[in-house]
Symmetry: D2
């Protein structure tokens, strides 16, 4: 019970609620500087549908901040759905007062493979898959990003930074850079597909455009990188304290993610130990690791579920978007039981670049939680005091 966050809201409902609790007091927080730019980053990227134009998300602050500073109390925000007016009937809280055509309720009776349409209807015993898809939709991640913007602010105060970039989109692989740019997001955000490899970028855009024409969709792989970490976050003493476990759970919880790996990940499973483990060196220039360094970072910054102080390197595999606009997938009508093509709800072709931003969000929330677990602290000053005193102690060992 350090940092907790909660979201609520349907994709075409009134709006999304983002609530984050356990944030220390005394943190400067400004929606326009800290939160809304993150929401915009989540909406960008080549391959997004029309909705991204309709709605520029903007979070309204409801609680937890006074006169520019956090109070220690829960921070709640609302991201209103700007399209709500068009959905008042279909997503109304009450049944329509007068008779409306069944179509006005926009029911979904042809569940889409890959979505939660069918499982949701069966689990929650509904007739209309809209009752499931509205919450299962990745629209919910806007609320996660809003919460994480607060966590990122806290981490930034401690010199911990988080960025991401796309390493593969559909069949196109980006070349791994010799070294990541220091301010990763400044570079990746400049690319419409958030990749660092300009040459691959062109082919990725092409692949998206081709998929769009074909009515098909794409996924890919993004990488989240966290820098400035001290050694010693997370723990091996119990399975649910391991930071690798907590990160993997958080990242896999993102809609459409089907794989998570850390450092060398799956590739490392194929190499012998002599080529995998990261030699330990003295490196007095690294106060955050107590003066130890590594010749490589194949472990992706985690040994035994604990940060080594090297950058966290996390990669996520995103499946292609489930809604196909042409060549739609076989489905079964929920009411009649007859075979038919799945519904096509307006959708993106590829939302991978945005998914990286959501990946950053989940990583930030987990890491901030681990920071508060190790350092405690009810005010930013107290967190910082305890953080600095740990680094000083590491230096003096």
């Amino acid at each position: 019970m350090h940092l907790r966050f909660h979201t609520a809201g349907e994709s075409h409902g009134r709006g999304l609620i983002a609530m984050i609790e356990g944030v220390p007091a005394g943190l400067d927080l400004d929606m326009d500087r800290d939160v809304n730019p993150e929401l915009r980053r989540r909406q960008a990227g080549h391959g997004r549908g029309r909705r991204m134009d309709i709605e520029t998300d903007c979070a309204e602050l409801i609680s937890g901040v006074r006169l520019g500073q956090t109070l220690g109390s829960p921070i709640a925000m609302i991201v209103w759905n700007r399209d709500w007016e068009n959905w008042r009937t279909a997503m109304g809280q009450k049944p329509p007062v007068e008779e409306v055509s069944p179509k006005a309720l926009r029911p979904v009776h042809l569940p889409r493979p890959g979505h939660a349409d069918l499982v949701g209807v069966l689990k929650y015993d509904r007739q209309d898959a809209r009752d499931a898809l509205e919450r299962a939709s990745a629209r919910e991640t806007a609320a996660r990003v809003a919460c994480a913007a607060v966590a990122k602010r806290l981490l930034a105060e401690l010199g911990i930074g988080i960025g991401s970039h796309v390493v593969a989109l559909g069949s196109v692989e980006a070349k791994e850079p010799a070294q990541l740019p220091e301010n990763l997001n400044e570079v990746s955000d400049r690319s419409p597909v958030r990749t660092l490899d300009a040459e691959a970028e062109a082919r990725m855009i092409e692949e998206i455009d081709r998929a769009q024409e074909a009515g098909d969709t794409l996924g890919g792989i993004f990488e989240v990188v966290v820098t400035g970490l001290p050694v010693g976050l997370g723990s091996y003493v119990s399975w649910d304290r391991k930071l690798d476990a907590r990160l993997a759970g958080a990242l896999m919880s993102i809609q459409a993610i089907k794989g998570v790996e850390i450092g060398l990940g799956f590739h490392g499973a194929r190499l012998p130990g002599s080529r995998v483990h990261d030699p330990i060196l003295r490196d007095p220039a690294k106060p955050r690791t107590g003066g130890y360094g590594r010749a490589t970072n194949h472990a992706g910054g985690l040994e035994g579920g604990v940060t080594t102080g090297e950058p966290l390197v996390l990669r996520c595999a995103m499946k292609p978007i489930s809604t196909l606009m042409k060549g739609r997938l076989p489905s079964v009508h929920l009411l009649t039981g007859e075979a038919a093509e799945a519904t096509a709800e307006r959708s993106d072709v590829c939302s991978l670049p945005a998914a990286g931003v959501v990946g950053e969000a989940m990583a930030a929330l987990v890491v901030a939680d681990a920071v508060l677990e190790k350092f405690g602290g009810d005010s930013l000053g107290e967190v910082r005091r305890n953080f600095d005193s740990y680094l000083a102690h590491l230096a003096s060992r």
Copy 2:
């Protein structure tokens, strides 16, 4: 707060405690039939070191079962460490009463890359890496397997089965079988590397033997498969209820695991949507899915973090074991700060086959928790009544 499990114990300490809580009453449980065979499975496999011969693990039941049946109360077991006599001094609870040579305490001052040796010493402010490695060791997984044996018994009562097999070991890939054998473990357990591909098996054994000669180590990839699941376990309504998230967290918490994927996983990220999503069909022969079937199972049995009723297919990447016996990795002496080769504590060459058993364990614990979440129930009879009534309702929709 459905099923909870806890472990305690150091690798060379007195023993391991395994505690599982929240198990319904009225479940037949017999240590020799249900638990100890699982512990033995965890110890098998080509590539294991001498310890596996010294210690055939055996769990002693302490609580939670009376006259052959669970009581609903916490089930606690101890797996005594048979080697304890040799470690009484080094792992003693008290400082030695008389003077002993420093070596008798078996301190570890040359942290091994890949282990938690260095991070543990820095995080917990210790001088001797043994204080960290004893708990971080994968020996702890014996306690997980003991807990999971109980979960597996519960799942078996509901017709849910769990198995695993090795799909890649070091550089050797097993051929994917056209179809998995129905009783997966019966087949995979017959192989010394727990693979289904007899041809690959030979090469895997060879690769292990070569690594052993070279003083090197190996990892690989195993797959866990859960069958007999009803549609509707887990949920998309909140990030931490998603079954994919919970499974990924649990699997990544296993020592040496660096990657987790579900269904097509990373491979699916490279394909277009039209080739990934699993067409929905009517299939009246499937009561556990309400009479729906899928043409394929690329989703690995999970859509929106909810079971589809198709088999769960989970793959984990295990890094090679961190302790190299020859060509040891560069390290730094914890007390002198001087560069030196890392310690070599007695170790296996490859423990991948056993890791698959641990993977089954974590999957079983998560799935059993999700079953109790959906079906409630304080006795096996009540769980089963609610389970059956759900299936009957699905059939009647």
Copy 3:
């Protein structure tokens, strides 16, 4: 992780957020019928200050309900603070853009004994006690009541009812009725002090009026009663599953509550066992207890932390309100360190009648959680099926 609820919001901020998660799908929910009347009940009672007139609380639904039914997804509501316009500067999110008088920020530098003013300022390292009191205020309970209104709806569907009444107000004790009225709240809500004893009612009102004149405040004792419970909610198998523990924690968390007792409570501690324990009888008319009855209900419906099926009887001691309008208590100026009288922020004389409604709320949330823990269920139909099947099984034992 069955039912979870979260609140956010400051007393004079933009509004309060109420979020409840884990509610089954398919529950009819109407704000005007189910939620808002509960909010009004929380605002009633003799002894309330002016604010209750200014603000008639009304919850706006944001998510979780479509076309009149719950979806299984988180239900979020906002209770806007109607007084917000007057607090825009003092409770602004940003520092004022132009210079304002320090008074416009309504700082509180004279912490009030009994409130969290001083502890909040020291813990969270603030200068202005408003940063603490705004969240610590009992205004937050409006959000709890909104969440609980949903839990009450669920419980009502299963025939479980919750009510409360005042048993002592200041020095005035109500006579215990021979038997509680069947619809407790219909009776108690008719009384301006929510008591069942008409004679005591008059004296309670008088005592409040006298306290008001004297600038003093009052507390008292209320009783929450839950009826229609099945035997077997909660558990003795682990300390944190005990329903008495969970209820006591939830009730003690209500602002100003300093004591909680169950059944005979403190009085029972003074009696011999022969006069305390409730004789067990056959009572075939009671299907919810498997046909067992009790000659008395001194245990207050809980044995070993498990419901007996007899009514839950919970009593809470509320301290008098901390803000005195006259004869204010000694305090110390936070900035100067000088002794002075504590601040008087507009306040009630006695809010005990309303506190009973909050007590009902917390009890409802805990009991609904225990119901879902035992019966599982993702839809109302499934919860009910499992509930009924348990009762049928009890009958057949």
Copy 4:
């Protein structure tokens, strides 16, 4: 997820497991000095039955400590049941291999009012109430006390002390001392009924002896006091972070506790605010409160769910023991449904003095958790550094 503890074990089973997890490394821990004396304190007191003589509890350490210091890993202990040999058949893990008389299984078919016998049998669907009572028994508290002994050691390192005394036993009330003795337990442990009032002590012993003769039982009220606390533990920001809520839940979870109050508690509900709230003063001699003091401590050390730095004063009402040896209570035979007297399992007349020790245990566990929540820290040195730095900051405000 700071400090967690778990217990397992049946009253007449093999033994009890006590596991505490989240304890910082580097804490000196010695079973004979720190844990076993606490177990003996739990067994003392006038009014205990024969069992206390049979079994002098002694905890065997299994894990978490090496060479005299905690490692940060879970600390597990076993308290073996010394009477186990006599219960091998009745509490055997397996059904008896040869035929035994039904009596040898010591079934309980006449549930005792006040115990969990009946509710346990119905909830967990058992035939024999022994399946319930063995876990519901207060014997389990030995494991809590063992865990808490570790928490107490940690708190002692920070100057936080915990003690308890009996303030009423049956109908005998102890006089409240003008001031509590500084080392409370040294004084109260000297009394066979753990009271500070020598005159009441004699009458309490007499009342116990009379009850024993009558085959009756007694309860009473004990008070737990925690001293040396800093201001600022716990929080008002969310209901489940409030320290009063957490303490009340933990204390009410103790077997036979039916009421919990803090400070003036129920008495304070009857007084006007002007006589209840604790005036705030400057008191530079109190570094743990930032130099603030209180003229009184009616709040019992908690305002808004946060420690004020004044002593925590917690009182618990314990009902009389449920097993009556004579004049047994009416019950119903579980198999025949016929009315009969309840079973009498060997039992104490009054275990109130011991219950106070269990009360200390639960308070210690909650407070230690709150300490780690605020101060973080993986080693004792780190906890202390952060603790001291907070006190220094309070002094400098």
